[in-house]
């Protein structure tokens, strides 16, 4: 049972990542490939603040999200000049940079040794260290993320984001400052990814750079595409299915040395099938061009 709840918690964290990446990729159409870097910044910021300065994880979570947003703003600058594949490569590069900092700035992050003993969230003096309580906490953040991103997208503002996705030049011709919208989208998307990272760190209580590799960014992107671009319901399904499905293999008695690489192969296979059978994703409204 505990294991089942654990899977739901991890699903919840991936749902936050997927919703926030869908805002950037699905709605605004910006090919961002380094989403896990924002989670990495959130996770390390709140963990280091808690471990080194005794800052409450709640405050760490907010500060981590803000730091992630700052990185989001920085990442948005290449998006002002670059399009499509070029932007994908540039954001990929930024993801690699963040990963290398986490791995190589040993003085701060302890590098590959990672950060053990990250304290849990506390409420009224009680540590949230039982899985049921943590599931509730994660679900609260899932709901907040969903409501915020739904509100943003279901509005004239959100309509402008889809216009940026459809045709930047035409959007400018309508008197909209495209750069401003790109900036906001990256800042908001990074903010929630930062929260997801922090939720992960204070739950697992240990982080190291291996949790934030480019493979994770690609996995989150797959969840967006699988569920459907510009579909928030799709993001719930995409993240849940792609987290739970590989776990089923383990459940069927497959050793994790086999299950882990198999996860990547399954993702690849699912994507190929999807692109042939339903290129807009399960619930998506928008096709890749």
């Amino acid at each position: 049972m505990e294991y089942l709840i654990h899977i739901l918690i991890i699903s919840g964290i991936y749902i936050i990542l997927t919703l926030s990446l869908n805002l950037i990729v699905g709605y605004a159409g910006l090919a961002a490939l380094g989403h896990i870097a924002f989670a990495c910044v959130g996770a390390y910021t709140s963990s280091l603040l808690a471990l080194n300065l005794g800052v409450s994880p709640w405050i760490g979570l907010i500060i981590g999200a803000i730091f992630a947003s700052v990185l989001g703003a920085i990442v948005s600058f290449p998006s002002l000049r670059l399009k499509g594949d070029y932007l994908a490569i540039a954001t990929f590069g930024l993801g690699v940079i963040v990963y290398s900092i986490a791995k190589n700035w040993v003085g701060l992050t302890r590098g590959p040794m990672g950060l053990p003993g990250i304290p849990a969230f506390k409420i009224f003096g009680y540590e949230i260290n039982n899985v049921w309580a943590y599931l509730v906490l994660v679900l609260i953040f899932v709901v907040i993320t969903y409501v915020v991103i739904r509100n943003i997208t279901k509005s004239p503002f959100g309509r402008i984001l889809t216009a940026v996705r459809e045709d930047e030049i035409a959007t400018e011709a309508m008197g909209k400052n495209v750069n401003k919208y790109k900036l906001i989208v990256f800042v908001v998307g990074a903010f929630f990814a930062g929260i997801a990272g922090s939720l992960y760190a204070h739950y697992i209580t240990f982080i190291d750079p291996s949790s934030f590799t480019m493979m994770e960014s690609i996995a989150v992107l797959l969840m967006v595409v699988f569920g459907g671009m510009a579909s928030l319901g799709g993001s719930f399904i995409g993240a849940s299915v792609l987290v739970i499905f590989p776990e089923l293999l383990r459940f069927l008695g497959m050793p994790s040395s086999v299950a882990a690489p198999l996860r990547q192969m399954i993702y690849g296979l699912l994507l190929v099938i999807l692109m042939i059978w339903r290129p807009q994703g399960l619930m998506g409204k928008y096709k890749f061009k």
């Binding site: 509100n151 509005s155 503002f157 959100g158 889809t162 045709d167 030049i169 035409a170 400018e172 008197g175």
Partner: protein, 252 residues
Amino acid sequence: MLQIQNLYKEFDGIKAVDGLSFTVEDNSIVALVGPNGSGKTTVFNIISGFLKANKGRIIFDGNDIISLNPFKIARLGIGRTFQNIRLFPQISVLDNVLLGLKYETGHRFSSALFQTKRMKKEEADNIKKAEELLKFVGLAEKRDALAENLSHGQRKLLELARILALEPKIFLLDEPIAGLFPETKRTMFSLIKKLKASGKTISFIEHDLHSVMDIADKIIVLDHGKKIAEGTPEEIKQNKEVLKAYIGKDTL
């Protein structure tokens, strides 16, 4: 209203616009005519800020706008359409028009985040306006269709509706009748005449000299980026230079 002064634009040694000057008077229809590649679209791209000129000035309502960004130029009141039609293909016809309409506060991030009453009110009002505009161009029934599923003629009309939504002072229409059936062509011209009757200023591009004779107040003929003639349709008909430029180019 709009003055183009001594405009130059070069692409890799090709002079696309070569010392061009002309004026678009208030509440008039000015046609920019010339063979393919004579620099017409480039002029519109420079006026609307999508291209930077090598030299020259664009005076709009008394201000030089040559160094402004496209979105600022659009906000000042210069609306344009595109020769190859630039709609938002994978969203609805209604949403396309709504993207042209102005919002006081409803388009802001904070309005979206807090789903403000004002935003919802503005949205409801704008949906009505957008529906009116769709009726005006004859696309009311297509309201919920995706823009990408419209025919060529319908897409041209939608692009006009969207630019109407922007309520510009001057309309720059790049080949509004290109590729249209005669009937849609007439619809488009009657809409342009209605615009003028309602006090708007229009400049449009057309490569076929004949088609603009009945509608333009003034015709400017370009060839190789240079103005070779300017005048009323009557004056242009008798201009030798124009005839020369068009001979063998199967447009006349």
